[in-house]
Symmetry: C2
Subunit: 198 residues, 2 copies
């Protein structure tokens, strides 16, 4: 059962995750969020307790959304190349949906929190590791299925895939280069071709 | 002639660029910098006038260093593949030298400033565009020299190269995965091989 408290919490986190992606997790202000959402500051404090707890809650919330919108549906695709295609496409859709509202929080937080030890950084590291391991594991399966050469290095291939996504995100959001999206798609096609069994 | 004022300015910018890479350009405080360097706050204001001017000065300073340490020496390498190797190596050395002190400012600022219009963002965009165009042009030359296939897409190849560098930076600094550096080197070797003339 979804209570009124849960619904308010979700509303706050949806808004706050966009603010965090746009302005940074450190720039969050409980007072400003309360104002944005016409809620009382004390009500927001009742939900999250502190800015640090709010930052952690935002990363947990985005991770849950990421699992629901990217991981789960992609892992339902057939093993091998189709699953890798689904992982690439789902992530691209995720990032594109956030293009006008701060971009992918995991990308911006990766550079904001890299030098800020604490629970928020730990949560982000866990999410990013899971993502890279998911990519590496999907590569491993593609080799087992006979789609990729058996000598593929799954961690290397995962890092390359992650790089294709990072560069596209950077070029679209910082440089305003929308051509970076079809270019990333071509880079992915080249990446697949490079590992396909001859 | 280097005046005492120039030397102080350089000292301030060297320190401030590390702080900016670690904590962010927005987190800079002229008061805190003055304290760090045992200088007067009014002295720092005399050099930069405002936090915005300081942010811009830091990006200009890092861009000059980038030109001197990465671009100029790499562009002195022979045309074609050797020059691409020099661009890759020089950037890797640049990022590695900053690994313990906040990483590459251009990477962190790319995600911090993407939603913050202003002169600092404009300067960063110009630097990043120049870098990507330098990479694309070096690819174009590699094709002209007959090292790469003539049908290479220079913008695509530059974006891929940028992605290899971004992913390595992210995995070393956020995830503490030092293996990401030799992996990036292997990704670069695969990238070269993928474009080499058969």
């Amino acid at each position: 059962m979804v209570t009124k408290g849960d619904a308010t919490r979700t509303l706050i986190l949806e808004h706050a995750s966009g603010v965090a992606a746009r302005d940074g997790l450190e720039a969050l202000s409980i007072g400003k969020l309360a104002q944005d959402l016409s809620l009382s500051k004390s009500g927001l404090f009742a939900h999250f307790g502190s800015k640090e707890a709010l930052q952690l809650a935002i990363l947990e919330f985005e991770t849950e959304r990421f699992i629901a919108e990217v991981l789960k549906p992609a892992l339902a695709a057939p093993r091998g190349v189709p699953r890798l295609e689904a992982l690439f496409d789902r992530y691209a859709t995720w990032a594109l949906a956030r293009q006008k509202t701060g971009g992918c929080l995991f990308m911006s937080a990766s550079f904001e929190l890299d030098d800020r030890p604490g629970p928020a950084r730990d949560k982000l590291v866990a999410t990013e590791r899971d993502w890279l391991e998911t990519l590496a594991h999907a590569v491993r399966i593609a080799a087992r299925e006979g789609h990729f050469s058996a000598d593929v290095d799954p961690e290397l291939a995962a890092q390359e895939l992650h790089g294709i996504q990072m560069a596209a995100h950077h070029m679209v959001r910082l440089l305003g280069d929308d051509e970076a999206i079809p270019r990333a798609r071509r880079a992915f096609t080249r990446w697949l071709a490079g590992y396909r069994k001859p």
